[in-house]
Symmetry: C2
Subunit: 176 residues, 2 copies
DNA sequence: TGCTTATTGTTCATGTTTGAACATAATGGT
DNA sequence: ACCATTATGTTCAAACATGAACAATAAGCA
């Protein structure tokens, strides 16, 4: 853990060149870039989703329910990396829009299982299309190999970050 | 815009195999991985920052002010990719902790310029150390070359995403 | 100068996310 | 069967972020 890295000009520096700053570290700059990318994406996606009358979080619910019809709220919350209460507050909105239907699980009287209504199916199809379109546009910047590589790195980083930690709030079986 | 892509087994498929799903697209899975990574990072960083009594947003302010002492709130907001009002609500908190000092700009009586107090300097040093330590741990998963590559891709993606768009809310001169 | 427009920071109402506390129900051990 | 433990979903207050409307100031231009 020796992050001394002699900032460029090594000779006769006047009055301490603001010492070894984080911005000199390549890793710092690179990680910041990832953060900015994420923020821009969220904004862009939210904007494109507006015409459909839903927000990113709604899309996230819909996409997950479409993928795994009959999900419980608990599982959904873990997938989305948010708290259970958040899901509880999100669902009534989607129910009022008649996009989601909640069904009591007969096998477990605590749990409620989630399904898309026909309207939900069609809105989900639309929002997925929006997502794919925007993503496709963005990804023009990358070759397919690069894209895979980026995903690979992201998965490795996530794992490294999680290991040795008391599981911030991930699912038992994550990574879909 | 033809995203038909014949899902694998082309012959005698029983009752539509849930058609061409986004999860089949490698780009989809890869991008999701990036999103998850970001969420995990935020959580981990917030947890490590707690002992210092500040949150991610606070650190963001501090780090930016340290980098560019005398920033105005407007510029800071653009750097942080948040609204001006958010900055306005964030600063009183940091002032109450005596970490930040606001100074009226004599040249422009609307603007206020931001500086770190001595206490602010030391907390910022600490929070930057925390960030570098956590980042270092995470980045063990990547070679330096890979890390640079990831940053490179992120910058390219951000640019591609922004171009053709009415500038969601980026700074005139972004990319620090 | 006098006018219009743009910029800076604030306020406020609104919507979102969170975590703690809770009620109900399942599970496991004895 | 009984009890403690765990899991699921809900409620609620508090923290947060957002965007629109605003006051004050600056800048551009006739």
């Amino acid at each position: 853990m020796n992050n001394k890295q002699a900032s460029v000009a090594g000779s006769a520096v006047a009055e301490a060149p603001r010492q070894d700053m984080p911005w000199d570290h390549p890793r710092f700059r690179n990680w910041i870039a990832v953060g900015r990318l994420h923020a821009h994406w969220e904004r862009a996606f939210a904007r494109e989703l507006k015409p459909l009358g839903i927000k990113c979080a709604h899309h996230d619910v819909l996409a997950n329910v479409r993928r795994d019809p009959g999900l419980t709220q608990q599982v959904l919350a873990r997938r989305m990396l948010v708290g259970r209460s958040n899901v509880t507050m999100l669902l009534p909105q989607l129910e009022r829009m008649s996009l989601i239907r909640r069904e009591d699980d007969p096998a477990d009287r605590r749990a409620k299982r989630l399904f898309l209504t026909p309207a939900g199916e069609s809105v989900t199809a639309a929002s997925l299309a929006v997502q794919l379109r925007l993503m496709g546009r963005m990804m023009e910047a990358l070759s397919l190999a690069e894209c895979d590589q980026m995903g690979e790195m992201a998965r490795r980083l996530t794992e490294t970050l999680a290991e040795g930690k008391p599981t911030p709030r991930p699912a038992p079986q994550a990574a879909p």
